[in-house]
Structure formats: C-alpha cells, structure tokens
C-alpha cells in the first residue's frame, strides 16, 4: 500500500468508528435519557405511564408512611403541588421529611412509582433538580429567607 492509501485506511476506520459511536449514542439518547419534572408539572400535565421521568422537591412533612412492609409511601412537594410516591426498597440514609429528594420512575394513575430515590449526601447539599423545582414554585426564596433568619437569630 502506498502511504496515501495507508493514511486513508486509518481515516476511514476512524471516521467509521465515530459514525458507529454517533449512531449508538443517538439511538441511546432517544430511550436512555430521563426528563426531569417538578411536582407542579406532573400534577398539571398528563404523562404516558411508560415514560420514565424524574421528579424532585422536598419530602412533605408528615407524609412518610412505612406501614406497607417494604414499600414506603411519601409525597414529594414543591410547596405548590404534591405528588404521592411509592417506593419499594431501602431509602437512602439521608432521606427525611422536609429534605430535598429526587425520585425516578413511572407515573401511574396519579401515583409516582419510583424505582430509584436519591437524597442529598450532606446537610448543605440539595440535588440541583430539587432546588430547581423549588425555585420554579417560588419556595426557594422563602427557604433562603428562613435560613437567613435562623442564622441571624443564632448570631444574636
């Protein structure tokens, strides 16, 4: 093979690989990505029950019910609307009422059947999606004000 042909071979292999990768990626992006929605959107819009989505917000105070054996029921709220959630399994260690949470799963008949629940890893952290939902509903500012009040109260 002449040098030019050789180089061409590698370029063709390289471009071919990128093409395959792009095809795989586009195909996977079609089905593999999950859109995030706030509890308000979930309440107002209809979602097909086979569409995987994420919702986020705060775990509503007093909504956690563990009476169903290994299935836990709770509500995720953005303080404007709350969505009932069912989850079978072990909740993350930092899951608690009034704390930020993100759940992933399917919306079936108004109940969100979660198969994955993410909570924050430490007390200063809020999942970005949960904070976005709260910002949208205007509750974020309220929370920040409260925190500021608490902090200034401590200083006194």
């Amino acid at each position: 093979m002449r040098p030019r042909q050789r180089r061409l071979t590698f370029v063709v292999i390289g471009v071919g690989l990128l093409g395959i990768a792009a095809a795989l990626a586009l195909n996977a992006l079609e089905s593999g990505i999950v859109f995030f929605h706030s509890p308000s959107e979930v309440t107002e819009k209809a979602f097909p029950p086979d569409r995987r989505i994420r919702i986020g917000g705060l775990v509503e105070q007093g909504s956690v019910n563990r009476s169903g054996g290994s299935t836990v029921a709770f509500k995720i709220t953005d303080m404007a609307h709350a969505v009932p959630v069912r989850y079978t399994g072990l909740l993350p260690d930092l899951f608690a009422e009034g704390q930020g949470v993100v759940a992933e799963g399917f919306l079936k008949g108004g109940v969100f059947m979660a198969d994955e629940v993410l909570a924050k890893h430490d007390e200063n952290y809020m999942p970005p999606e949960a904070s976005a939902a709260l910002k949208e509903s205007g509750f974020w500012q309220h929370m920040k004000d409260q925190q500021a009040n608490k902090a200034s109260g401590k200083a006194k």
């Binding site: 040098p3 990626a25 999950v34 054996g69 970005p128």
Partner: protein
C-alpha cells in the same frame, strides 16, 4: 501559630509556583541559562512549602483545633485518630490542598530525576507545571482557604460525614489524585514538546513511566472508590455511571490510550502528534473531573457541599488550560513530522485501533456525562442520563476493543501476518469456545450479554497467555530452555501480560455481577426466612449496639445453602451518628471466588419487622482482583530498567535488544 505558619507557607508556595512558571519559560524562550536554572529550586521550594502547609493542616485536625473553620466543619474530638487524619482530605478545602501538594511533589520529582533532560526542555516542563500549580493555589487561597479561622471557636466540631469514615475512602482521594495529577507530568511534557517543536523517542521514553505511574494510581483509586460504593452505600452495585464516577473514568480511558500510543512513539517514531494530543486530553479530562466533582453542577450520588463561585473559578481555570493547550496544539502540532511508516495490519496498527476505540469510548462517556449540562444550558429542560445510555453505547464499543486486544501482541511491528497471528492464537480460540459452552450450559436463563462477556474474557485471557507461550517457545523446546526464556523476558512484557490478564479477570467479574445478580427486598421479622438464589437467609435477631462514635441497629442473619449448612452469618448495621446527626448503612457481605452474599438491614416497619435487602452477586471478587492485576502489571512494567527514570545511557543496548527480538 502552626495554622498561621501553614497559611503563610501556602502563600509562599504560590509565589514559588509563579517563579517556577514565569522565569524558566521566559528563560527557555530567550535562551537565558540563569533564568532556566530557577526551575528546579523553585519546584523544590513549592513542594517544601506545600508539605509544610499540609502538615500544619493535618496537625490542626489531629489536635482538633476548632478555631480553624474547615476543622470545625469536618472533624470532631471523639473521632478515631485515623479518620481525623483522613478527614484532612475528606472535604473540599483539604482535598484541594492535597491536589496541589501531589502536583508539587510531581514537579519536584521531575526537577530531581530530570537532570539529564535538555536544559530548555526541563525548564519548559517545570514552567508548565508551575503554571498549573499557581492556578490551583490561587483557587485555594481565593475561594477555599483551608486555614480560615472561626472565632470564637465552637466547643466541638460538626464531625466528618460518616459515609466517609471508612478505610477504603480514606485512601481513595490520595490515589485518585496521584493518578489525576500524575497526568499533569505528561501534559507538561506535551506542552514543552510543542513549544520546542520536537518529539522523539527520548521524549516518549520520558513520558511513558510518568503516564504509566499515573495510570496505575488512577486504576487503584477508581477501584477503591468502586469497592467503597459497593459495600458502603448498600445498593449492591459496583458502578452506577454516575457523573462523578465517569469523571474519574474519562482520564483513565484517555490515559490508557496514552500509555499505548507512547509505546509507538518510542519504538517506531510514529503517532507523535496523536500522542501529544492524548497527553493534553488526559490531563484536561482530569481537570474536568475536578470541576465536575467540585462544582456540583450535576446531580450525583457523590455530590458533596458545593459552591457555585468555586465552580466558576475552576471553569475559568479549565478554559485557560484546555483552550490554551489545544490552541497551542492546533498551531504547533502539524510541525511534528511523522516518522516510521507502517501497514494497517501491524503492531502499530493494532495499538492505533486500540487508541481509536478507547478515545471513541471516552467521547461517548463524555457526551453522556455532559449531556444534561448541555440540554440545561440550551434551556431544553432538565434531563438525566443513566446507566442504560452507557450500556448501549460504551459496552458495544469495548467489545471489538477487547477482541482486538487479544490479537495485538501477536502482530509484529511495521507489517504483520494476520493469518499467522490467528494460527498462534489457537489457545485463545479453544478457551473462548470452552467459555461459551460452559456459560450456555451452566446459566439458568439465557443472557446474550453474559455469553458474549464470558467469551470475550476467555478470548482475551487465551490470547494473552498464547503470547506468553509463544515468547517462551513452551512445548516446542525443553522446559528448562523455555523457563530461561521467560526469565529473560523484559519486565515490561510481564507487566503487559499481567495487566491484560487482569482486564480479562475483571470482565468475568463485571459480566457475572451484571447478568446473574439476584436481588430480593422484603419486610422480615426475627425468625423469618427468605430464599434468594439458592440460599436461605434467616433473620436470627436484631438489636442495638454501640460503636466508638455511633449507635447502630444490627441484624444478624444466618445464611444456609441448599444442603441446610450454615455458610455465612451476616451482621449488617444501620448506624446512627449522633454528632453528625446522620445515618449510614453498613452492608454485611461474605465474599468467595464464586459469589458474594450481601445483606442490608433498613428501617423498622410495623410489628417488630425490618426492611431487608439481600443480593447474591456472582464473581464480584473477580472485579477487584482484576483491578489489582491491572495496577500490578503497570507497576511491574514500571520496574523494567528501560523505564527507569532518565536512563539514556541504556538506549543503545535497548535498541540492540529490540533488533534482536
């Protein structure tokens, strides 16, 4: 006093880094010897200052000096000593200090071992390292000073996130940083080569050991993190394709490509521009990883307390470092004339194919990791990209990579005979067919992925061993002569064999653990028994236990096999750390070569019952063993005298040996 000393040393380190950057770079440009000579002492000074600063910070943690903000926020007087020390880097400020310390130590090592480098080249390498160090020191001093005071000091600290109070995680950041930052050396060499306009075999001989060392440390760091996530988070998985995991995996992929393409530069004087590019990409991805972890822009199981201001600062650093180096590459890269020519079917061609597949794999992982940011920036909503995306893109690309990886070592340089290579690989073919048959017969439900994975692993292991057999002329010569051939084999060849076998072992583990995992979640009262994958888990009892700084609910499970024998007693805990006001899950597991038994206990439910979760995980131990073999192979290869730092005297003999082979 010691804290002020540490802070002062940190500021001094910044000035040392600025001097290390500016003077040698300017000196190299002007050809001024005295200016270039500033590099080594400045690098040593920077490392010494940072060692003092780091020691001062460790001291503050060990003595529980809560007048230091970072200590008050992240430590507690009742914490065990080992976690007081490890707590130094278990938070943002301390871990950034560790980052620059490692960087400065690498810089000092280059200054020390690089005496035989051409003066202008060494000056440029040290200058680039100084620039990176100065950027990160500025970042630390301006946005995340670990020595910031808190007055009046609180009576006690907030404690360390209990998830991080774990031996594997105490070691995870240092190893990860040794890897991340180790690629800064390859990066500095690449930039220096672009500035000099010259890349040759000697350059590759220099870059190889540094990249290989970084790669080994990164492998260990990633494995430790994965191991920790496996047994500590209690989710029973070992890899989640989480953005932060991907952030450490990306430089690993680029680094793997780099250590292979550097071989081609060294032996055959080809693929120069490409290797320089990979060195830039590997370190850029390390910087990107630091940015993703430290800025918290992505929802992640790892995301710790974050601050947008810091994110912006790192983003600017990132833009300067990556943009600047890629611009330099675009400008000077084309001048790096290629040397040795080769046919597509050759050792070089095989390594290039490995590189193309590795970088394409890295590209799809990068796309999946950054896609949520991209969509968000375009205002098209918030999305997350999960494991299904990566399994559908990355895994298919790695299939051909592994298939080709077994063949590569059988190809000769320059021009190879593929049919001959296949003939020498009969062992691999036999191994693959045996593995395919065994998998098909033994597995309960048909999984194409499992069959393919096991077949590939056997093919890779067989191909790698066939190469060893070939080198030793085993079965064709008397055993003694074969053994002496093995004894004379260069260590680098042993290292390659061990690392490739390690990947085969890890693939067995990954395939088995993904395809045949059995999981069961239920509510159990004491006395209840649940059957999972042929094992009967019985909850014997549950009660409170007290640890050094926590209270725990401990469940005791007896696990019986089909014959009714007790094979394991598992005691998972749910710990409550009163100081940190946090709970953690301590999974209990019993590992054997064939399977892990894994139990987690959760919240109490009604009537004295508890939520429990069991897994039977086949072959998980193979993943960790494979990672150890890969890193071990790297270290064996590193001990090869040809890789011994700065041994140009040996060059002539080496070429003679290679020619003889």
């Amino acid at each position: 006093m010691i804290v002020e000393l540490g802070h002062f040393a940190l500021v001094l380190a910044l000035f040392a880094a600025l001097a290390q950057c500016a003077l040698p770079l300017a000196g190299a440009a002007r050809g001024s010897e005295p200016w270039m000579a500033v590099g080594p002492p400045a690098a040593a000074a920077q490392a010494a200052c940072l060692a003092i600063a780091f020691a001062a910070l460790v001291h503050a943690y060990v003595t529980s000096d809560f007048s230091v903000l970072a200590v008050a926020q992240n430590s507690h007087s009742l914490k065990p000593l080992v976690y007081k020390v490890a707590g130094t880097w278990g938070n943002h400020e301390g871990s950034m200090l560790l980052w620059v310390l490692v960087l400065a130590l690498f810089g000092a090592a280059v200054a020390l071992f690089g005496r035989r480098l051409p003066a202008s080249f060494r000056a440029r390498v040290l200058g680039v390292q100084g620039a990176v160090g100065a950027g990160f020191l500025l970042f630390i001093l301006l946005t995340s000073n670990p020595f910031a005071r808190l007055l009046p000091p609180p009576p006690d600290g907030n404690g360390l996130n209990p998830l991080l109070q774990d031996p594997a995680l105490a070691l995870h950041p240092p190893f990860l940083y040794l890897g991340y930052v180790g690629f800064s050396v390859a990066f500095a060499f690449a930039i220096a080569a672009l500035l000099e306009g010259r890349v040759d075999a000697a350059w590759a001989r220099w870059v190889r050991p540094w990249s290989l060392a970084a790669w080994c440390f990164l492998t260990i760091g990633i494995a430790l993190g994965s191991w920790w996530a496996y047994y500590e988070l209690g989710w029973g998985g070992w890899w989640y394709w989480d953005p932060v995991e991907n952030a450490s995996f990306l430089p690993w992929l680029a680094g793997t490509a780099l250590i292979h393409s550097a071989v081609v530069v060294e032996k055959r004087d080809a693929l120069k521009g490409w290797t320089v590019f990979l060195a830039i990409v590997a370190f850029s991805l390390s910087l990107l990883g630091t940015f993703l972890v430290r800025s918290g822009v992505l929802t992640s199981v790892h995301a710790f307390a974050t601050d947008p201001e810091r994110g912006v600062f790192i983003l600017v650093l990132l833009a300067i470092a990556i943009g600047g180096s890629l611009a330099l590459f675009a400008w000077r890269g084309p001048q790096l004339a290629g040397g040795g020519v080769f046919q597509p079917i050759s050792r070089e061609g095989g390594l290039l194919l490995n590189n193309l597949l590795m970088t394409t794999g890295a590209a799809v992982v990068l796309l999946g990791t950054l896609y949520p940011l991209l969509v968000d920036a375009l205002g098209a909503g918030k999305v997350s990209v999960g494991a299904p995306f990566f399994e559908a893109t990355f895994v298919p690309l790695m299939g051909p990579m592994i298939a080709a990886m077994a063949i590569g070592p059988h190809l000769s340089w320059k021009r190879a005979d593929l049919a001959g290579a296949f003939a020498r690989m009969r062992l691999a073919g036999v191994a693959m067919i045996a593995a395919l048959a065994a998998t098909l017969v033994l597995q309960d439900k048909l999984s194409i992925g499992a069959v393919a994975g096991m077949g590939l692993a056997a093919w890779l292991a067989g191909g790698t061993l066939a190469d060893l057999v070939e080198r030793a002329r085993l079965f064709r010569e008397p055993l003694a002569s074969s053994l002496s051939r093995i004894g004379r084999m260069p260590r680098a060849a042993f290292g390659m064999t061990l690392a490739h076998l390690g990947l085969a072992v890890a693939i067995v583990g990954m395939t088995g653990a993904s395809a045949w995992k059995i999981e069961s979640i239920q509510s159990m009262a004491p006395g209840d028994t649940v059957e999972v994958g042929g094992y009967a888990f019985t909850l014997v009892g549950a009660g409170e236990v007290r640890g050094p700084n926590y209270l725990a609910l401990r469940g005791t499970f007896e696990v019986r096999d089909k014959a009714g024998r007790v094979v394991a007693v598992l005691a998972p805990e749910r710990r409550d750390y009163p100081v940190e006001q946090r709970q953690t899950t301590e999974a209990a597991l019993q590992a054997t070569w064939l399977r892990d038994l894994y139990a987690v206990i959760g919240e109490p439910t009604q009537g004295g019952a508890f939520v429990t979760r069991f897994y039977v995980h086949p072959f998980v131990a193979w993943i960790w063993a494979g990672c150890v073999m890969m890193a071990g192979g790297g270290f064996v290869s590193l001990s090869d005298r040809r890789h011994r730092l700065g041994a140009p005297a040996a060059r002539r003999r080496d070429t003679a040996i290679e020619a003889a082979r």
